[in-house]
């Protein structure tokens, strides 16, 4: 059965006025995926430990609700990421701007794999350059250059947003732009809809 067809059946109460989108959230371990999503849901981040499986969280925004499937990013879990791509309408990739050179390289490889994966290559990407509050954090320009986004992601829709858990406004700004992209694509696929 088509996974998406039952989305509207889940709420037996009055329908929510906000559209829902299914997105997948990946990134290396320690990049801050769980922390950011938890903060966006206004929950406490005190007890967060590395994710070893996956989470499903409905994250509310002003214009939409994102049903985020967040996957753990440790070495032994990354090989399972592609099992969770099915049904996604967008990708959130979180990276640690202040990580070591080696880790940054690994993150770049993973991002490139995701950008080129057949199930994700037509989807919009929100790339969160997290941990900007740390002294060792690379700047927006440095990240853009290092990750080769302009040549590699040509023809794809992406947003690169610097942020940190200390600055949730920047995070929300990134997500709101991302939601605009999702809405645009939705409208492209349903011509004639107001």
């Amino acid at each position: 059965m088509d996974f998406l067809c039952f989305r509207t059946l889940c709420c037996k109460g009055p329908p929510s006025p906000r559209t829902e989108y299914d997105v997948v959230c990946v990134g290396l371990t320690g990049s801050g995926k769980s922390s950011l999503l938890t903060q966006l849901c206004s929950e406490s981040t005190d007890s967060i430990i590395p994710t070893t499986g996956f989470r499903i969280k409905a994250v509310p925004f002003q214009n939409a609700i994102l049903n985020v499937k967040e996957l753990g990013g440790a070495d032994n879990i990354r090989k399972y990421w592609s099992r969770y791509y099915q049904g996604s309408q967008g990708v959130v990739f979180v990276l640690d701007s202040a990580s070591s050179e080696d880790d940054l390289e690994t993150a770049r490889n993973e991002l490139h794999s995701a950008l080129q994966h057949p199930q994700l290559c037509t989807l919009p990407f929100l790339i969160l350059a997290n941990h900007q509050d740390k002294p060792a954090a690379r700047s927006l320009q440095e990240i853009k250059k290092y990750f080769e986004l302009e040549p590699l992601a040509r023809g794809q829709r992406w947003i690169l947003q610097p942020c940190s858990v200390e600055n949730m406004d920047a995070v929300k700004e990134g997500f709101n732009q991302f939601i605009n992209l999702l809405e645009e694509i939705d409208q492209e696929h349903t011509p004639g809809r107001l």
Binding site: G53, F54, R83
Partner: protein, 208 residues
């Protein structure tokens, strides 16, 4: 959402005659007929109005009703219940009541769908040779408010991972709840002056 064996003793045994089980959209406010099962309100004006309401429904609606009726029969049947119970027994210990999901839940979910949803589909095709799953799913969207709670919950577990997980968690709670031995937890203590049990020496543990 509690997992319970669909049907049970409350439902009448399926008879040979098709009966209207699902509420039809009231054409105007003249009729206040609602059919339903489970927790829906059941009111009937009179038999004539019931017959009129049935004739209003289209062929497609009748087909849809028939499929729902068959699904009820299939899931109430012993064969399905055994299949489902075996599957749940095999895996329920894997499921924990935490927000984070183990990667194994995904493969178990896939196995569940492959086993049980396909079984239902096969059974439906045997009963209705022209049955088409895609058509049915489209009808489901339109009739979503009319399906009884049990059927709805069951169908949801095939497509909604969180509903599937909750089903397992409920099952685990039932299995483990029955297994707990409370006999050591409650002790009757005399309140007369002669008994001087201090709090430390009694065996009453806080209820968990």
């Amino acid at each position: 959402m509690a997992w319970k064996a669909p049907g049970g003793s409350e439902r009448p045994a399926p008879g040979p005659c098709p009966r209207p089980r699902l509420p039809l959209a009231p054409p105007a406010d003249e009729y206040s007929i609602l059919f339903g099962t489970g927790d829906r309100v059941v009111e009937m004006e009179d038999a004539e109005v019931e017959n009129l309401a049935i004739s209003i429904s289209s062929d497609v609606d009748a087909e849809f009703d028939a499929v729902i009726g068959h699904i009820e029969d299939i899931i109430m049947d012993e064969e399905f219940q055994v299949l489902q119970r075996h599957f749940m027994d095999k895996y329920y210990l894997e499921f924990e009541n935490t927000e984070e999901n183990k990667l194994s839940y995904t493969s178990i979910f896939q196995e569940y769908v492959d086993l049980l949803e396909k079984y239902i589909e096969q059974q439906l095709i045997e009963r209705i040779p022209t049955f088409n799953m895609a058509t049915f799913i489209t009808s489901l969207q339109q009739h979503k408010d009319e399906i009884s709670g049990d059927i709805f919950d069951m169908l949801l577990t095939f497509t909604d991972f969180l509903a599937f997980k909750e089903m397992f968690l409920d099952y685990r709670m039932e299995k483990e709840g029955h297994g707990l031995d409370f006999s050591g937890d409650l002790i009757v203590t005399s309140l007369s002056k002669s008994s001087s049990l201090s709090p430390a020496s009694n065996n009453i543990r806080p209820f968990q």
